[in-house]
């Protein structure tokens, strides 16, 4: 394909660059007036280290849960002959677009000490809010849809003929999933898991409500912002943006392995884009 710029592309590029002012410039500004030494020093503080560890622990647990529960759900939604399939897919999408604050309040009402699920557990001295479990619940709510949707897209892109051939040869569903679908869809799922991980790491709005303590890194960043202003918050902001950059790069590498990217919406498969 020729790389000459067509007028249409020139105009689109111009339009897009206006959007990039909003998308890229704020992040670039973090590095323009960077105070590397001071930030690293601030991140060495005990509270900062604790917050980082809490966030890493919680997000690791979240990713494991998403892997164990989200990927099978993605396969189910991609392959099983479910009634009301589009409804189920839409329900999985919904948390991605629910505002953080609303999510926090709803999670609290469900899992809080007097919530539908929280109360019976509380009677057995199990708390689901204001601890690591609360952070994980908040992270799962916002991040798990990424995994379900990327798994769904990954599995849907596997040529059904391959699976049918295996079925006619007598392979069980589990074998087909394990030997054909999962290996072929894996790069896309891995990309989804990576994005879900960083979304979980950065989750703030609902975490604040469900688990203010122990402080995760984003909550710690907010507390420092409230107590000490901009200079207090920037070290944690820098840390989160750096981790996010790594996650995006990793996710891009994973999706390269598949050779194509699929766009699946609740209204069906919209497009398959050759890379």
């Amino acid at each position: 394909m020729s790389r000459s710029l067509k007028p249409t592309f020139l105009v689109f590029g111009l339009l897009g660059s206006f959007l990039l002012i909003d998308l890229v410039l704020p992040i670039a500004s973090l590095f323009l007036d960077a105070n590397w030494g001071g930030w690293l020093e601030a991140l060495k503080q005990v509270e900062a280290q604790q917050a980082l560890v809490i966030s890493l622990e919680a997000s690791a647990i979240s990713v494991m849960i998403m892997l164990l529960l989200g990927v099978p759900l993605g396969y189910l939604l991609a392959r099983a002959d479910l009634p009301l399939k589009r409804l189920w897919i839409s329900l999985v999408f919904l948390p991605m677009v629910v505002p953080d604050l609303a999510a926090g309040i709803l999670l609290l009402k469900t899992f809080g000490p007097y919530g539908i699920i929280g109360q019976p557990l509380d009677a057995r001295n199990i708390a689901l809010t204001n601890n690591l479990a609360g952070i994980v619940l908040a992270q799962l709510f916002v991040a798990a849809p990424f995994v379900v949707v990327s798994s769904l897209a990954g599995f849907a892109a596997v040529d059904p003929k391959l699976e049918m051939a295996a079925a006619t040869l007598g392979d069980s569903r589990w074998h087909i999933f394990r030997r054909i679908a999962l290996p072929l869809a894996w790069p896309g799922i891995a990309a989804g898991l990576t994005l879900a991980w960083i979304r979980a790491m950065g989750e703030f709005g609902s975490t604040l409500i469900v688990a203010y303590n122990p402080h995760s890194l984003p909550v710690y960043m907010w507390v420092k912002f409230e107590a000490e202003g901009l200079s207090g918050a920037l070290p944690a902001a820098f840390c989160l943006v750096a981790l996010a950059t790594c996650a995006v790069v990793a996710s891009m590498l994973f999706s390269r392995l598949t050779g194509f990217a699929d766009v699946v919406t609740p209204f069906g498969k919209a497009a398959t884009v050759e890379n």
Partner: protein, 338 residues
């Protein structure tokens, strides 16, 4: 070929929708009001950054009442300390700043070390600490008895299984004021165990940001919390009043309150003091004339503030009294001494 495609598309619902949208946009352009600053007399904007606990007082009371005098009022609620940090870091340039503690002005905004972001402030009103509870809590009966002075409130709070929360001293003056209140109560009732109800100052089981704690008590996930009276009047929750000697409301007990101190993680040590709300016009305020009109209005709103659970106090002036706008001199009296 291309024209045929367009023709075949024209009849579709999509094409009709596009047509409708074009018409709507045209219509909107015709009837849209002129751009801001086009000179309409009632289009005088005023932005007020205020202590979060005042949200209802400002958005349902003072804001709308002031807007009727011909200004476009825009309010923003933030924690006092956080709001001061926003002004100090040049992240907000409100016309008026209302703080929940005179110390927020003196420690974070005034003086050369703070870039002289604020040079004076006036005391507006006072509030008090109360214990609010959820009326559907399983301990509601006990709270009612405490509110009627039949059982001591601290014995109710000590009930096993009862959950109560308080503000975070790191980010919220109400957080360290609650610590002061429990210490004062320990001495007032001669009970050492009262301060121990709180555990460590930052006890993770009790400490929450203001709005989060309110959400927890309102949704019934917490049984009770320590709040300002005006917050609770706004939320219409039942509450237990406390004696003036410990509730930090009464300037007459200033020296008693001042026996308590707390050192915040960001540095300065704070001492117990009456809960006073202050108003100021930061040096960076873009609409100074509107700001002055607002402050005048606020200092004359005693009646309205009382309706929302605040108490009127003398409008003493802190900081550099020479810097206060002449238009406010008649509404203020005396010097504020911390």
């Amino acid at each position: 070929m291309v024209s045929r495609n367009i023709k075949s598309v024209l009849g579709t619902p999509l094409a009709r929708a596009i047509k409708m949208m074009r018409l709507t946009i045209l219509l909107l352009l015709v009837i849209a009001p002129p751009a801001p600053g086009a000179g309409a007399s009632q289009d005088r904007p005023i932005s007020v950054l205020y202590a979060g606990s005042l949200a209802t007082v400002m958005e349902k009371g003072v804001g709308p009442a002031f807007a009727k005098t011909g200004y476009t009022y825009q309010g923003e609620a933030q924690g006092s300390l956080g709001a001061a940090q926003l002004i100090r870091g040049h992240l907000r340039t409100p016309d008026v700043f209302i703080s929940a503690d005179p110390l927020v002005n003196t420690n974070l905004l005034m003086g050369p070390q703070n870039g002289n972001a604020v040079k004076w402030f006036a005391v507006v009103a006072s509030s008090q600490l109360v214990i609010a509870y959820n009326p559907h809590s399983k301990f509601a009966k006990k709270f009612e008895e405490a509110a009627a002075n039949k059982v001591p409130w601290y014995e109710v709070l000590a009930t096993p299984g009862l959950r109560f929360g308080r503000g975070d001293p790191t980010i919220d003056p109400k957080g360290y004021r609650t610590l002061f209140m429990f210490n004062l109560a320990g001495r007032y009732y001669h009970r050492d165990d009262i301060p121990k109800l709180l555990g460590p100052p930052l006890n993770p089981d009790q400490v929450f940001p203001e709005v989060v704690l309110l959400a927890r008590v309102e949704s019934g996930q917490f049984d009770a919390g320590i709040f300002y009276k005006h917050e609770i009047i706004a939320r219409q929750l039942p509450y237990i009043s406390l004696p003036s000697e410990i509730n930090l409301s009464d300037p007459r007990f200033s020296s008693l309150y001042a026996q308590e101190t707390y050192t915040t993680s960001s540095g300065p040590q704070v001492s117990g003091a009456p809960i006073l709300f202050t108003v100021t016009i930061p040096e960076s305020a873009p609409h100074r004339e509107a700001a002055l009109a607002f402050v005048q209005f606020l200092l004359k709103s005693g009646e309205l503030l009382r309706k929302f659970g605040l108490e009127e106090v003398e409008h003493r002036v802190g900081g550099d009294a020479a810097q206060i706008p002449p238009g406010l001199r008649g509404l203020t009296s005396g010097v504020f001494k911390p």
